[in-house]
Symmetry: C2
Subunit: 684 residues, 2 copies
C-alpha cells in the first residue's frame, strides 16, 4: 500500500519550481503575511503534530474572534455587505458631507457633468415615453378603478421625485399595469368604487402612502435583500399571469361588452365574454379595437425585427389615439354605442394629505394593501433597474433605490397619486430611445403636466377600445416565452415554480399568484437547506486528485476507504440528514463490496472544504456519527474543514474527541495515512 | 511566469507510483467504470479540449437525466432519503409481507428473541418508572387542569400501544410536564375548567385526538424532517424556560398558597407568591413541602455523583408519597389547612370517543391546540429516542416513530387520555435501570392499571406539597446548564436563539416561547442561505495547494489573479450577493495593489467545487458578472463546478458564452493558464 501513500503525496510534491513561486511571491507582495506555519494555532493542538506529510502544513485555525466581533461580522454581511461607507473613507469632513448629499440626491452627482449632448438624448427619450405613458395611464387608471386623471397626476409627480433621488438612469417611472391591477382588485374588495368613489379614492391614497412607507422602510433598514426571496422563475410566471389577466380585462373595452364580470380570473372573464356574444358586443367597437390592435402589434413586430425602427412601435400608440379620436369625433360613433373616455378635468394634482385614513379600520386595510402593492412595485423596479444597470455597466444600490421609490410614493400619496414604480415596457423604450440620465423622466413629467393643463379635454372622444388595444399591446411584452423556455431547459423545478405562480394568477387572483410565487420560492430554499448534496469521491488515475465519481466515471474508489464530500455548512436543519446519508453510503458500498468479495470499509474520509460553518446541533450529530462508526470499527477522518468549523470543533472538544491526528489538509494526506497504518491502530 | 505554471501542475504530477494505484484499483474493483475520458460529454464540448494540462482530464458532465428522473431524485431525497424499502429488496413475497408486518409492529421483531434474562431487566426498569410516574401523573394532571385519574388513564393505555408499535427500546411513555402545561394553558383560554369541567375534558380529548392525527400524518406523509427545523439550541432554551414555569406553578402547592394567579409568566407568579406571604401561606404545608423537596434533591444529587446509586433517586418519590401520606393520615394535618389530593375514583379508562367535538367551533380550537401539543410532543419524543438509540447503537426511523406516537394518541383520545409522549426524566431512569425492550413500558402500564383498580383510594391523604416537590424535582433535569454553557462557548448566535426561547417562555407563555424558538431557527436558516461564506484563496508555498488566506496566514496571493472560493449552491436567494461580494473583493484587492504599486488584477478564478447546484437566477447573475468583468478587462475562470452545475450551465449556453477553455479541473490548472497566456488573448 505504500504506492498509495506516494501517489497521494504527489499532490504536494516539493519541487524546485514550486519553491521559486514562493520566493517570487514573497518579495512581490508585501501584504502576504508570510509567517511561520501555525502561528495562530493553540499550543496543545500544535504539539501533537506528528502525522502531517512532507509539505509540513496542517489544517489552520484562524485567530480567535470575540463575541462582539462575531456579531459585528454577521451584522455587517447581512445589512452592509455592499460597504456603503467605502467612498467616505479617508475623506475630509466637507467632502464627506458633499458625498452624503450626493448619495441622497444623485441628481447632484450626474447634474455636474450634464451637457447639451446628453440632454438631446434625454429629450427624445422623454418625449417618446410621454407619448406612450399618457394613453397607457388612462387604461391603468381603469385597472385601479380610479378616474383617468389620477393616473396622469401620478405620471407628473412621481417621475419628478424619482429624478432627484433615484440612481437608475434608464427606468421610466409611472403607474404600471400589474400594480394597478393588484391595487384595483384589493381595494374593490373593501369599498365599492362605483357606490363610494370618494371613500375608494381615500383608501387608494392610504394604500399608496403605506406602499411608500414600506419601500422606504425596507431601504432605510437595509432589508433590500428581501426582494431576492422572489426567485426569477416565480417572477416570470407571475408577470405572464398578470399580463394574461390584464389582457382579459381589456376585452371589455375592446369588444364593448356591457355586463362584464368584476372578477379577474380567466373562468369568470371567459364566461362573461362568450355569454354576451350575441347581444353584449358592439360591432363598431370591435372594428375599431381590432384594427388598432392589429396596427399596434404589427408595429411591435416590425420593431422587434429591426431594432433601429423601435420608434415606430414607440409612437404608434399616440398615433392610434389621435386617429381614432378624430374618427369618432367626425362620425359621432359614440352615439352608436362606442364607449369613449369622456370628460376629463383640466388642472394639476389637488392635495390629498387630508384624505388619507389616519385611523379606523380603513387604516389597517390600506396598510395591508399598500404593503403588498409596495413589495410588488419594488420587485418590478429593482429588476428593471438592475437589468439596465448591467447593460450600461453601472452599479445600482438596491437599498438606496428602495428609499427613493418609497419617498416618491409617500410624496405621491399627498398629491392625489396612486402607486408608481418602474414600468417594464416604457423603461425599455426609454433605453432604446437613447436616454442618458433621469432627465428623461423630468421631460416626461413636464409633458404630462402640459397634457393635464391643456390637452385633457381632447381625450374626450378617444374610444375605450383603443385604450384597451394599447394596454394589451403593452402587457404582451410581460409574457416572456423565451425566458420560460430557457427555464424549462435549464431547471425543471424552477419551471414548476413559474407555472405555479402563472396558474395562480390566471385562475384565481393576483394575490393568490403572488402567495404561490413566494411560497414556492421559500419551499425551494428550505429544500436546499435540508437536503444538501453529498458526493462520493474517487481518485483520478495518474493524479493526486479526488473527484465526484458520478461526474468523473474514470475516478476509481480507494480500497477500504470511503471518501465523502459534504457540500454545505452543517446546521441543525441538515445535520441529521448528513449523518443518515453517510450511513446509507456506507451500507450501499458495503453491499457492493460483499457482492464482489472485496475487503470491508475501514475508513470514512469526510472532505469538508465546503463546510464553512457548523452549529451545536451539527457538532452533536458529528459526535453521534463518530460513536456509531466506532461501534462498526470504522475510523472517521476529516479533511480541510473551514476556519469557523475548526474554531468551533476545537471549542466543543470535538478535535480532542476524534484525535488531532485524524484531521488532514488534503484528501491525499488522509488516504495516505489510512493506507499506511497497520490495522490495529485504527480503533485505538 | 513559467515557474507558476510548473508549480501548479505539481498537483497532478504523473509519477509511476500514481500509475500503480490505478492498476491496483482497476483490477480490484470491478464496479469502477474505468472508461475512456469524457465518454459522456457532448461532442461539441469535448471538441475544443485544447487547454487541459498534462493530466488529460477536464471537468466532467454527468449523464443527462430526464425530467422525471430529476423529479424522482428530488422526491426520493426529500421523503425517502432513508431508503425504507431497502430490506424488502430481493426478498420473496411471503418474507416481504412478514417484514412489512414487523415494520408496522416492531414487537413482532424483538418479541422473537425475547427471553427471561431480558425480562428481568425490563421488569426492574418497569417497576422503577411506574413508581416514578404515578405521583408525577397526579402533578401533571394539575398542570393540564384535569382530574388526576385522566393522567393515570394515559399512563395505562399509551405505553401499551407504544410497546406494540414503537421502535425505541428506552423511551418511557406517558403524560409529560411541558406538554401538559402547554395543554392546560391553551385549553384554559377556551373553556374555564372549573366552571365547565365536562366541556373542558371534551376539548382536551379533541386536542389529544388532533395531536395524534398530526403526529401520524407527519409520519405517514414522511414529513418527519420538519422536527429538524427546531434547532438544538432553541429546544434547550425552550425546555429550560418550561421547567422554570412549571416549577413556579408548583409554588402554589409547595407553600399552600390560596389565591394563586392563573397566569404562568414569572411576573404574575412572583407577585402572587409574595403578595400572599403574610396570610396566604400555610406553614405546615411549607414544612412538608420543603422537607421532601430537600430529601428528593439530595437523592438526586447523590445519584448524579454515583451512577450506581441511581435507584435511590428513582424510588425516592414513591417513598416520599408513602411517608407523607401516612404522616398526614396520622396527624389529620388536612384539617390544619394542608391541602391533600382527595378522593380518586377507582376503575379503568371510560370510553371517550363520543366526547370528542366532531363539529362546531370547539373542533377548530381543539385542532389548533392539538397540532401544537402534537408537535411539541414529537420534538421531545424524537430527541429522546435518538439520544438513547445512539447510546445503544441502534437506528431509529423518525417517520415510523411518529406514526406510532400518533396512533397511540388517537387511541388515547378514545379512552379518556390526554396527550402522551416520551418523558425525559423517566426515560433516563428506564435506561439506567437496565431496560432492554419496550416491555418495560408494558410493566409500567400494568402497574398503573393495578393502581387504578386497587390503590387509588390510598392517595386521598397524599399532601399536594409532596406532589409539587416531586414535579419540581423532575423538571430540574430539564434545565441543562451544561448544554447552555457549551452552546455559549461554541456558537454565540445559537446561544441567542436559546435565550430568546427561554425568556419567551418565562416572561410570556409556552406558546410565545415556542414561536420565538421556531422563528429564530428559521431566521437562522434564511441568513445562512442568503449570505453564503466566500473565501479568498492563496497558494501554500512549496505545494500546488490553494487554501483560504484567512485560515492559512502562510498562503500567498498569486500576482494578477484573484482566487475566490464560493461555498454554496448559487440560487436566487444568494446569487446577487455572490456577484456583489465578488466585485467587492475585487475592489479591495485593487486598492491593496494600488497601495503597494503592484500590477492590477487580470483574472478572477472561481473555485466552484462546493457549488453543487445553480438555478436560472444564479446563471443569470453569473452572466451579469461576466459582462461586468469584461468591461473591466478581467477574465473569469471557473474551476471544478459540480455535475448539476455543469449540466445547467451547458443547457443555458453559459459554457459557450464564457468559452470552454475557461473551465478548469483544478485551481492549479487555471493559475497556470492565466500565467502562461499573453495579455492580448485575455479579452478576446
Amino acid at each position: 500500500m505504500s504506492e498509495l501513500l506516494m501517489a497521494s503525496s504527489a499532490e504536494q510534491t516539493q519541487n524546485p519550481a514550486a519553491m521559486m513561486v514562493v520566493t517570487c511571491n514573497a518579495s512581490d507582495f508585501p501584504f502576504n503575511y508570510v509567517q511561520g506555519p501555525m502561528e495562530n494555532n493553540p499550543a496543545s493542538y500544535e504539539a501533537k503534530l506528528d502525522h502531517t506529510s512532507s509539505h509540513g502544513y496542517m489544517v489552520g485555525i484562524p485567530p480567535k474572534r470575540n463575541v462582539l466581533e462575531e456579531f459585528a461580522y454577521a451584522f455587517r454581511e447581512t445589512f452592509f455587505h455592499d460597504d456603503p461607507l467605502y467612498h467616505y473613507k479617508d475623506q475630509p469632513k466637507r467632502k464627506q458631507f458633499w458625498l452624503g448629499l450626493q448619495n441622497l440626491f444623485p441628481i447632484l452627482e450626474w447634474g455636474k457633468q450634464y451637457n447639451l449632448k446628453k440632454f438631446k438624448g434625454d429629450l427624445i427619450a422623454g418625449l417618446t415615453i410621454a407619448s406612450l405613458c399618457i394613453p397607457q395611464d388612462i387604461g391603468y387608471a381603469k385597472l385601479a378603478n380610479v378616474p383617468p386623471n389620477y393616473a396622469l397626476y401620478t405620471s407628473f409627480v412621481a417621475p419628478l421625485v424619482y429624478a432627484v433621488m433615484g440612481s437608475s438612469r434608464d427606468i421610466a417611472i409611472g403607474p404600471v399595469a400589474v400594480v394597478s391591477l393588484l391595487l384595483g382588485e384589493a381595494l374593490k374588495r373593501e369599498i365599492n368604487p362605483k357606490k363610494h368613489p370618494n371613500e375608494y379614492l381615500r383608501l387608494a391614497f392610504t394604500a399608496t402612502f403605506f406602499a411608500g412607507i414600506t419601500q422606504a422602510a425596507l431601504g432605510f433598514l437595509r432589508l433590500g435583500f428581501l426582494v431576492d426571496f422572489l426567485s426569477h422563475a416565480a417572477v416570470v410566471g407571475f408577470m405572464a399571469g398578470a399580463a394574461i389577466t390584464i389582457g382579459l380585462q381589456q376585452l371589455k373595452g375592446l369588444f364593448g361588452i356591457k355586463n362584464f364580470t368584476t372578477n379577474t380570473d380567466i373562468v369568470s372573464v371567459m364566461r362573461s365574454v362568450f355569454g354576451n356574444i350575441h347581444h353584449g358586443w358592439n360591432w363598431q367597437t370591435v372594428v375599431i379595437g381590432m384594427t388598432f390592435l392589429a396596427f399596434l402589434l404589427t408595429t411591435k413586430y416590425i420593431a422587434s425585427k429591426k431594432k433601429n425602427l423601435f420608434w415606430i412601435a414607440a409612437v404608434a400608440p399616440l398615433i392610434s389615439v389621435i386617429i381614432s379620436t378624430f374618427c369618432v369625433y367626425i362620425t359621432h360613433a359614440n352615439k352608436e354605442g362606442v364607449k369613449i373616455v369622456g370628460h376629463l378635468d383640466k388642472g394639476v394634482n389637488p392635495p390629498s394629505l387630508q384624505k388619507i385614513y389616519w385611523s379606523g379600520p380603513q387604516l389597517v386595510n390600506g396598510a395591508k394593501i399598500g404593503i403588498m402593492a409596495g413589495l410588488v412595485g419594488l420587485t418590478e423596479a429593482i429588476a428593471i433597474g438592475r437589468t439596465f444597470a448591467t447593460l450600461k455597466g453601472y452599479q445600482l444600490d438596491g437599498n438606496k433605490e428602495m428609499t427613493a421609490l418609497g419617498i416618491m410614493n409617500v410624496a405621491g400619496s399627498f398629491t392625489s397619486c396612486i402607486v408608481a414604480t418602474g414600468s417594464f415596457s416604457r423603461s425599455a423604450v426609454n433605453f432604446m430611445a437613447g436616454c442618458n440620465t433621469a432627465m428623461s423622466n423630468i421631460v416626461m413629467s413636464l409633458m404630462t403636466l402640459l397634457t393635464l393643463l391643456v390637452i385633457t379635454p381632447l381625450f374626450k372622444y378617444t374610444p375605450n377600445a383603443v385604450i384597451a388595444a394599447i394596454i394589451i399591446n403593452a402587457v404582451v411584452g410581460l409574457i416572456d416565452i423565451k425566458a420560460a423556455a430557457r427555464i424549462w431547459k435549464v431547471d425543471k423545478l424552477d419551471f414548476l415554480a413559474l407555472m405555479g405562480a402563472f396558474f395562480g394568477v390566471v385562475f384565481r387572483s393576483v394575490e393568490i399568484g403572488l402567495l404561490i410565487a413566494v411560497g414556492i420560492s421559500i419551499a425551494k430554499i428550505l429544500f436546499q437547506v435540508m437536503r444538501p448534496r453529498m458526493a462520493l469521491l474517487g481518485n483520478l488515475p495518474r493524479t493526486g486528485l479526488y473527484r465526484n465519481i458520478e461526474q468523473y466515471p474514470e475516478a476509481v474508489r480507494v480500497p477500504k476507504v470511503l471518501i465523502i464530500r459534504v457540500d454545505a455548512a452543517i446546521y441543525f436543519s441538515n445535520s441529521n440528514y448528513i449523518k443518515e446519508r453517510t450511513l446509507r453510503y456506507l451500507r450501499d458500498e458495503e453491499d457492493l463490496n460483499k457482492e464482489h468479495g472485496l475487503p470491508r470499509i475501514e475508513y470514512i474520509i469526510f472532505e469538508m472544504s465546503a463546510v464553512t460553518d457548523i452549529d451545536t446541533t451539527g457538532i452533536h450529530e458529528l459526535e453521534e456519527l463518530l460513536k456509531v462508526l466506532k461501534k462498526l470499527y470504522i475510523q472517521l477522518e476529516l479533511v480541510n474543514p473551514g476556519p469557523a468549523v475548526m474554531d468551533k470543533l476545537l471549542a466543543a472538544g470535538y478535535i480532542e474527541m476524534i484525535g488531532q491526528e485524524h484531521i488532514f489538509l488534503t484528501v491525499g494526506d488522509a488516504v495516505a495515512c489510512c493506507s499506511s497504518k497497520p490495522k490495529d491502530t485504527v480503533n485505538a
